[in-house]
């Protein structure tokens, strides 16, 4: 489904808007969702509003507009209250707000850990390690300690190289 606002990007977020008791649901891309959930209404009622009235109106509108993760149904206010995401997609649905929260907790949003390949190919190294572990167990079981010592050394070397 395409974003109902820009009609270019894929819709991933549901924005629920309550206005005069009427509920309106919009399917949006994360970029438009961020823009619309924070922005003022497109048509200002009058130019004569005081800044105070304007701010009040803005906060009222923010309250009634809510980001919802379309994968798991978690709303942003639910996340803010419980501090728990509902699914991996929430991280991207809630966009820049997630970045701010992570920055606040960790002082960084940059992942510095080991890379994980999501294509689920068994790496040769790990396969070899498993084979060796099985061979080691067998050698110990058969009380072939010379062989066991050799395999243990090979395993150790493999693990050191694998780091």
């Amino acid at each position: 489904m395409l974003c109902e606002n820009c009609k270019i990007r894929e819709a991933k977020v549901t924005l629920i808007e309550v206005k005069n008791g009427q509920t309106k649901t919009l399917h949006l891309c994360p970029i438009c969702a961020e823009k619309l959930s924070l922005g003022l209404p497109e048509k200002s009622a009058a130019g004569s509003e005081s800044p105070g009235e304007k701010a009040e109106k803005k906060s009222r509108i923010e309250e009634t507009r809510e980001l919802v993760c379309s994968t798991c149904g978690t709303t942003f206010s639910e996340f803010a209250k419980k501090g728990r995401f509902g699914c991996p997609d929430c991280y991207f649905t809630f966009g820049d707000k997630v970045k701010e929260i992570l920055e606040e907790i960790h002082g960084s949003t940059l992942y510095q850990g080991r890379r994980y390949s999501t294509d689920r190919k068994v790496s040769e190294l790990l396969k070899r390690e498993k084979e060796l572990e099985e061979a080691l167990e067998k050698a110990v079981r058969e009380e072939n300690f010379e062989e066991a010592a050799r395999i243990r050394d090979e395993l150790q070397k493999l693990r050191e190289n694998g780091k």
Binding site: T71, C72, G73, T74, G83, R84, F85, G86, C87, P88, Y91, F92, V98, I101, L102, I105, H106, G107, S108, T109, L110, Y111, Q112, G113, R114, Y116, T118, R120, V122, S123, L126, K130, E133, E134, E137, R159
Partner: protein, 348 residues
């Protein structure tokens, strides 16, 4: 579970470095599976699917050969608390709910909780100060599991977890420290103030939201973004070292300024443990702490740290009830606890 009852888990064996001050070291990683909502939002049927998939992968590993496996919904309340007292499951996992499970290696140095806050919470334990060992072990098993399972891992954040405090590497290191010197010399506030600056958390015996008993504190690393796994290990090791230095200095100060009072406290505590007829867990933990300090400063020679670890372990309510093979109210427990402690010390 019956065979676990009389056994002391390896992580309480007092074999590692500084076993009197560092009771144990622990590393854990949090992982989730792609294609499933996090456990908090996942319905029971799909949770069981996650449970099945993770269990199958884990049990194929040599580290989990002949492992123990429990489904939480099938355990009695007493058994659940028993596992929590051994730190094998969290207080979060022990609450009722479908599709939760735990896999425990034979020697109890690895535990894998399924459908706790995240699909996977893998933990490695070691006695004494041995962060390198638990670090290597937890990541090795995590990596092997990751070959068989499909972890939720997405740029730019890395591993995605239910709580944003674990996002990134999902790694947390922790130690259980016995800091009687710092507590007795009234320097705890100073320590806490210093530790708050270096991004670690200080908690009670069973982690988040629990009380400190017997001057045992759980100190944990906090950051999982902006740092590599190894950087987490190195900086946490530094923090532990500084804390231990602080503890050693506090003990020196105590010995200099109030030697008699300290020795009196230690010997009195041992005497109470050896002859009391009623002991609460809190009291036991306090007296055990003083005796432990006595070993640390070379005033007590004929009691092993391992024995004190066992006293603490089996003095806990669920352990005591399992050990005596019956359900007991608090009063009866106090009586049996005192009897257990007396017998155990007499055998030393």
């Amino acid at each position: 579970m019956r065979e676990m009852v009389e056994r002391t888990p390896r992580w309480l064996s007092a074999e590692g470095k500084f076993p009197e001050m560092v009771i144990s070291s622990r590393a854990r990683v949090a992982r989730n599976l792609e294609g499933f909502l996090f456990p908090g939002k996942l319905d029971g049927k799909l949770k069981k699917e996650v449970l099945k998939e993770v269990r199958k992968a884990a049990l194929s590993l040599p580290e989990f050969k002949e492992a123990l496996y429990f489904e939480i919904s099938e355990l009695s309340d007493l058994d659940r608390v028993f596992l929590a007292e051994r730190h094998l499951i969290s207080l979060d996992l022990l609450a009722d709910g479908e599709g939760k499970g735990v896999i425990i290696s034979r020697d109890e140095t690895l535990s894998l909780m399924i459908n706790e806050e995240d699909h996977i919470r893998l933990q490695a334990f070691a006695p004494g100060l041995n962060l390198e060992e638990v670090f290597e072990k937890v990541l090795r098993v995590e990596e092997k599991l990751g070959e068989m399972l499909n972890y939720a891992y997405r740029e730019p954040y890395g591993f995605l977890t239910s709580c944003p405090t674990n996002t990134g590497t999902g790694l947390r290191l922790s130690v259980l420290l016995h800091l009687a010197g710092i507590v007795y010399s009234k320097q705890l506030e100073g320590l806490l103030r210093n530790l708050a600056k270096v991004k670690v958390s200080v908690r009670g015996l069973y982690g988040e939201g629990t009380n400190v008993e017997g001057n045992v504190f759980q100190i944990s690393s906090l950051l999982s973004l902006g740092v590599s796994e190894r950087e987490t290990l190195e900086s946490f090791r530094d923090v532990v070292e500084i804390t231990l230095d602080f503890e050693k200095k506090s003990r020196e100060i105590l010995l200099e300024n109030m030697k008699e009072a300290l020795e009196d406290k230690i010997q009195r505590s041992l005497a109470i443990l050896s002859s009391a007829r009623l002991l609460s867990f809190k009291e036991t933990a306090e007296y055990v702490s003083a005796v432990r300090l006595g070993i640390g400063i070379g005033k007590i020679f004929d009691i092993k740290v391992r024995t004190l670890n066992e006293l603490l372990l089996f003095s806990q309510p669920a352990h005591l009830q399992k050990l005596f093979g019956k359900e007991m109210g608090p009063q009866e427990r106090d009586e049996k606890r005192a009897s257990y402690v007396r017998t155990k010390l007499k055998a030393e």
